[in-house]
Symmetry: none
Subunit: 244 residues, 2 copies
């Protein structure tokens, strides 16, 4: 219906098959059909998912399974991490309406990550995203289950379905997540060689910061490539151009 | 919280206690606390409602029971009848967003009727309402359960109240232009040392590209500082941390 692609719903380490089925049902009610599963606790397929999906079997049948979150979003340009708890990450925070606007206004592939039922996403997984997605909820009673979080996002997305015209604000499309990830790994490696990560107890936090800094840039594939060339140049010995 | 009173959620002849509990949970997530029950099939209180409410006991405790829908809405000025099927009634039809706007824009008491899980509201009950409330849903898969219908309405209502504020789009302010400029000059200098700019005829174009790439990042002062630290680390010889 729209020319912008529908967002992927990515369930990260979902615990109960029943909840996967309920999420599929919530999705299909609002026209979302593409689910990805990262390391579902009880394997896949899960016999408890089907009955809970109440007929949304097509979503379950098409669901793709990945070993890691990174792999599940490698082809996505915009990633939202759904969270309830506050995080010590400096990232944009959007509500379902704002997320839906961004998704519907883009021709790029978007993904929304939902964490395991009990614990939610790990901080490292949140750091993979371009923005945190939070449902503004009663602070005295925040008890949204997985399918409810999914349905609110799907509902907001579907509201924009007919209207939204992808704008061409983006001159060049964002690089797919996999390319940005390769850049960040490249940088991490080179920084590690130089002894940048110190003390060891701070290494993971520093790496999260680096990820956030570069994920937010909105660089295109061409720009990612250029920055990787700069990193190579910076770490290499000077080239004596006069000889060439 | 808002100056307009919160809407009543009226469950008409609900069948399963579990679904009443789930509806209560959905309500309280978005700050709705006033539930009315019309002739619940299994009487009231219902021992299955509590566990399904996941802690939203206050809603169940305060719930009022009525024999008929008419009595349940006697003190309400605006009544919405939630339906999925089309009706042969000439009435205004609103979606959750429009209903929430009307409710939030009025100082009058509003009620939203939800019918029994299987059959929905009787036509006579729909006729009691001022408007039909329908969630725009996938016509090929309309499978919204009671709690899901309630949560969408509660969510839209809360968006217009106090809960609607907590997202912080404003993160850290962007770094002043002078700091970003210093970063770009720093990078240019270090790249020049490494012989990155070649051939000379392309140097200005390449520098323009670098400026565009970094100007678009939206980095804060803190992030600019971090990136400058990375550039220093990349060009320096490895530090042997074990000695420090």
């Amino acid at each position: 219906v729209t020319s912008s692609p529908q967002p992927l719903i990515v369930l990260v380490r979902p615990q109960l098959g029943q909840n996967i089925g309920k999420a599929a049902r919530a999705m299909l009610n609002f026209g979302l059909t593409e689910m990805r599963l990262v390391a579902p606790r009880d394997g896949w397929p899960n016999p408890e998912a089907g009955p809970a999906a109440s007929g949304a079997d097509i979503v379950l049948e098409k669901a793709k399974v990945f070993a890691t979150t990174k792999e599940a979003i490698a082809d996505c340009s915009t990633v939202f991490a759904s969270t309830v708890r506050r995080r010590d990450l400096v990232m944009p925070v959007v509500d379902p309406e704002q997320a839906a606007e961004q998704i519907a206004g883009s021709l790029q592939r978007a993904a929304i990550l939902f964490g395991p039922e009990r614990s939610g996403l790990e901080t490292e997984e949140v750091a993979l995203a371009n923005a945190i997605l939070t449902v503004p909820i009663n602070p005295e009673f925040a008890s949204l289950n997985l399918a409810q979080a999914v349905i609110l996002v799907a509902y907001e997305w579907s509201k924009r379905g007919q209207l939204a015209q992808p704008t061409s604000k983006e001159l060049e499309p964002f690089a797919p997540h996999g390319e940005m990830d390769a850049l960040i790994r490249h940088l991490d490696e080179q920084l590690a060689v130089k002894g940048y990560f110190h003390p060891p107890s701070r290494t993971q936090a520093t790496k999260n910061t680096i990820r956030t800094i570069f994920t937010k840039t909105g660089w295109s594939s061409r720009e990612v490539k250029a920055v990787r060339g700069m990193i190579r140049a910076l770490v290499n010995p000077p080239r004596n151009r006069t000889k060439t």
